[in-house]
Every structure is written in C-alpha cells, then in structure tokens.
C-alpha cells in the first residue's frame, strides 16, 4: 500500500497512523535478517503517530501527515544517530536537522529509522557498510543494490511508505531498480543538501524511494525548493506536480533511446525488457529515435575521477578531533593518520587514495583536468538531446541483481554497475527509475527516464503514464 491510499483510508476512518506505525515496526522486527536499518526510532515514531491521528481527527492533517518514512543514514537527524555506515561515525549524533528532515517534520512525516548504506555512500551493492551487508528481500543471497540499499529495501519490504536516499552516481536509481520501487533523483540543486554528509558535492543529490508516482510527487514537493543554508540550491519555484496524465498527448512526445553501441554491456534479460517497452511506446504513437553519446566508454572513468577527487577533499574533515572515532594512540602515532586508517573501510580508503592521486602534482591535468572537460561534453550532449527530445529512455542497470560477494573484490566491475546512471549526475539532469519488467529469477528490472533540467513535473507525469501502459 502506498501513502496516498493510506491517507484516504485514514480520512475515511478505516485506518490509523498508530496502527500502521505498529505494523511497520513489526515488519522491521520480523525482517532484521535483511539488515536494512542501522538505528530505529520506534518510540518517537509512535509518539508522533498519535499526534498525527489527532490532527486527522481534528480535520487538520498536514501535507505528509502520518507518512511513515525511512531516512538514509547520511542525512542528519537531530538527536538521532547518523553513522554514514562507517566506524568513524559509529557514535555520532547530529546536533541539527538536515533541511529535508526539517521540512518533513513540519509536514507531518514520521521518521521510523535510519537506513543502512554503503560506507559514505561509496558502493553499488550495499556490502561496504561497517554495519554489515543489506540483503535483497526476495533472495538474501543477492544484493539490493547501493549505496542507498537499506532505503530501497525498507520501501520494498513493507517497513515504511517511503524513504529518502542520496544519489551521487546512481545510488538511488540502481537499488530502486533492483528492489522494484520508484527511485527519483531530481535536478542538481532542486533539493537542499544542507545536512547531507558530503561525498562528491557537485554530484550529490537527495531523492526519494516510493511505491507510487503520487507518493514520489507528494514527497518531492515538500522537500524541494531553495534553501538559504545551501547556496547551490536552485532559486526556481517548485510547481505542483499535477498528476494529470490526460494532459500528455503521446503523439506529440519525442523520446530519445540508446543505440546498440551504448547497450553492448547489457545482459539479455535487461535488453529484452528494454526492447519490449520500446515496442509498447511506439504502439502508443510516441516517436522514438536513437541518439549517440560520444565517448560513452569514458563516462564511468570521468565519474570516478570527479567523484573521488571531491571525496578526498570532503572526507579530510574526519580527523578524530571534534567528533567521531578517535584511535588509541601509542608513542609516535599521529592522531589523524591512525584515526582515519582505523576508522575508514577498504572502499572508502581506495576512493580517497584515487581522489588524492588524480589531484596530486603532476597528475592533475592528465586526470582531473581531463575529466572536467569530458564532463562538459556530457553536459552539452544532454542539452543537445533535450533540445530535440522530451525524454531519454534507457535501462537503469546493465544487469539484474548480482550475488553478494560476486563483485566485492573487483572494484572496476562494481563501478560498471553505474554505467547508465552516473551521466545524469555529471550532467545534473533529473532522472527516475521505474519498475517495468522482471528477470527470469523474478527480480524486478528497472528502466530509467531522464529529462531536461528542472522538468521534474513533466518527468513524473510521463513516468506515471509509462507505469500505466
């Protein structure tokens, strides 16, 4: 059940927020083997649930009254532990709320807990968390995707109506595709990053997990919009995402699709879903046309250079002095070096090392400088595409979910999981993954729609239309 349906039930007095909260709590307690939460917030959630019920009774429910939501553990929640899936922040309790959390609280949403994630959002399988791997709800031998794996699982396995995640190169869309829900990353700057622990500041964007486009839109409208505390937030009004699919005239829509060159690394199962959807939309009278991406093979290297360069700088703040873990010192130990070496896990160290290397003297121009130029090409290519087309339609992931452990010791093959998602972050465009098929093993297969900057309304409307076909 989605929140929109639940809200109607409560308004019709057929359900209550307290009952629903209890149901989700039971579900979380029954499914601890999935390891999707790091910290739960049950007591507070129940308190807020009875307050919500009161507001419903009084006829004054707020926009997200009683929306029970899970929050990725890199989004700051005042008084509620926020670990980023890392030993270095194991006992860190924020003294302020992220802007998105503040807005959720004001709108009546109820935070049920903080979800597990790849350490500092660095991973595509949710295996790098200090608190252990998250498991796929359909088969625990498989990964749920990452880095927002806990958020995706909590929405897929009835532990919350919706969840927030963060997406730096696909960290919302990829787990949403693996777990069968809707994962939405708006345009860079649409949602304030204040209180999101930074991984790569020019790519990071907070976004949503939900089981319906209506829930996605309701949540998006509350958390989006300019914020004085984030000077990179866009000062562009957020319109009501009127979900009126009747306004869409398929015959006027032009959709760009990928050619065989870009799809060469796709598994047959993903390809067959992709092609069957293409046939469907053609039958609706929508015009589709292949577009080309120059240097497609350089997208992932470009992404990893930009992301790790920014990460190496952002993660310099973890020094064991003001907050977080501090190593026990013996004679001659450097507090910062020992704290970081013990506090960060293997993947985070790899990425800090890569970022430090590509920024280091003698390599800056060859790597970081080149990557910034390649990013310009990707950005310009998107502008060109969206001058001619309404949407770009592409798979979310090259393969269905893979097994736990399968790619963990082969970083490059893990990085390729982001093949179709990282370009939207490099180009700052909005992107959404919606479930449109299934693999032979029964895993959901997600497809991705991208649109021009700030066209979230159009994107959500078209997504709803696609889900209705």
């Amino acid at each position: 059940m989605d929140y929109t349906t639940f809200r109607k039930q409560v308004l019709d007095k057929e359900n209550s927020v307290v009952e629903q909260t209890k149901e989700f709590i039971k579900s979380i307690e029954d499914k601890t083997h999935l390891n999707s939460f790091i910290t739960t917030n049950f007591e507070k959630a129940l308190e807020k649930a009875s307050e919500s019920d009161k507001r419903f009774l009084e006829g004054e429910p707020r926009k997200l009254e009683g929306m029970i939501i899970a929050i990725k553990d890199n989004i700051s929640t005042k008084g509620l532990r926020t670990t980023c899936g890392s030993k270095i922040l194991e006992n860190y309790v924020p003294i302020y709320d992220a802007t998105v959390v503040e807005r959720l609280n004001k709108a009546g949403a109820i935070i049920i807990g903080k979800t597990n994630m790849d350490e500092f959002a660095m991973g595509s399988s949710n295996e790098t968390s200090y608190f252990g791997a998250v498991h796929h709800p359909l088969n625990s031998d498989y990964v749920p995707g990452g880095s927002s794996g806990g958020s995706a699982v909590s929405v897929a396995a009835d532990m919350a109506f919706t969840a927030l995640g963060s997406d730096t190169g696909g960290s919302i869309r990829q787990p949403a595709a693996f777990c069968g829900n809707i994962g939405f990353k708006p345009t860079y700057g649409r949602i304030s990053r204040y209180g999101l622990v930074a991984f790569a500041s020019s790519l990071d964007q907070i976004g949503t997990f939900a089981n319906s486009i209506e829930d996605t839109a309701a949540l998006y409208e509350v958390i989006a919009g300019v914020d004085a505390k984030d000077s990179t937030s866009a000062n562009i009004p957020v319109e009501d995402t009127m979900l009126n699919i009747d306004n869409l005239n398929p015959k006027e829509l032009k959709v760009a699709i990928l050619s065989d060159v870009e799809l060469k690394n796709c598994s047959d199962e993903v390809l067959s879903v992709y092609y069957s959807i293409l046939r469907k939309i053609e039958q609706q009278g929508i015009s589709i046309e292949e577009v080309s991406f120059d240097n497609f093979d350089a997208f992932i290297p470009t992404y990893y250079i930009v992301a790790t360069a920014e990460a190496s700088s952002n993660l310099a703040r973890f020094d064991g002095i003001r907050y977080g873990y501090r190593a026990e010192l013996q004679n001659g130990d450097d507090v910062i070096v020992k704290t970081r070496s013990e506090g960060f896990g293997a993947e985070v160290k790899r990425r800090i090392m890569l970022g430090t290397y590509v920024l280091s003297s003698g390599y800056y121009d060859a790597y970081y400088g080149k990557a910034l130029k390649a990013r310009r090409l990707i950005y310009d290519n998107y502008k060109k595409i969206f001058n001619q087309f309404d949407f770009l339609f592409l798979p979310t992931t090259p393969t269905p979910p893979f097994k736990i452990g399968e790619k963990l010791n082969d970083p490059v093959s893990m990085y390729l999981s982001d093949l179709f998602t990282s370009s939207a972050n490099l180009g700052s465009v909005p992107a959404i993954s919606i479930p449109l098929g299934a693999s032979s093993q029964g895993f959901s297969v997600g497809m991705q729609i991208q649109s021009n900057h700030y066209e979230e309304n159009k994107l959500l409307n078209f997504s709803k239309y696609m889900l209705s076909l």
Binding site: N91, Y92, V93, I95, Y188, G189, S202, L203, A228, S231, T232, A234, N295, D297, A298, P301, T302, Y304, I305, S312, G320, I321, R322, Y323, G324, Y325, R326, L329, D334, V335, I336, V337, K338, R340, S341, K349, R350, I352, M353, L354, T356, Y357, V358, S360, A366, Y367, G369, K370, A371, L372, K373, A374, R375, R376, L377, Y379, P411, V412, Y415, S428
Partner: protein, 93 residues
C-alpha cells in the same frame, strides 16, 4: 604503481597501510588507475572544463548577527573534552 608511490599518496591522504596490505593494494589500485586513465586518450582541445553543475551566481544574505551553536552542543560529539575545550594529544614538548 609500486609500493613507494602508494606510500607517497597515502601520506598526502593522511592514511597509512600496513606493510602486509600494501602490496595487494598496489595491484588493485594499479588496475583502477589503468581503467580511469582512458580519459587521457580523449581529444578535448579547446573544451572548457565544467567546474560546477549549475549557473554560477553569488548568493548573499543580509549582514545580520545570528546565534551560533551553543558551546555545550558543539562539544557533545567530542571524543575527548573538558568543560570548555576539545582535548587533543600533546603536540609540543
């Protein structure tokens, strides 16, 4: 990439690897460098680097005093502290 180069990068990053880790790390790290070095081959002359993902504009606010974090709050997460300060290991003799 040899272990000496890895040690140099680690020093810049304020990280230290154990001697037994460093060789296997060097092999894996070289693989990653090799993979991302494909950007070196792109011909990108006369292309301006994209340094920020949005239209740059100055964001200013009124120059008004605002309250800051209370001292007690700022010290809440300190690994070591006294009533007033963060405590750090002695750095001068």
């Amino acid at each position: 990439m040899d272990t000496k180069a890895i040690k140099h990068i680690a020093e810049l990053a304020h990280l230290k690897f154990k001697d037994e880790e460093i060789e296997s790390f060097a092999i894996q790290f070289s693989g990653i460098i090799n993979y991302v070095s494909s950007v070196e081959k792109l011909s990108l002359e006369r292309i301006e680097p994209l340094t920020r993902p949005f239209e740059a504009q100055n964001v200013v606010r009124q120059d008004m005093a605002q309250s800051s974090i209370p001292k007690e709050d700022a010290l809440l997460n300190a690994p070591k502290r006294n009533e007033m300060f963060f405590k750090v290991p002695k750095v001068i003799e």
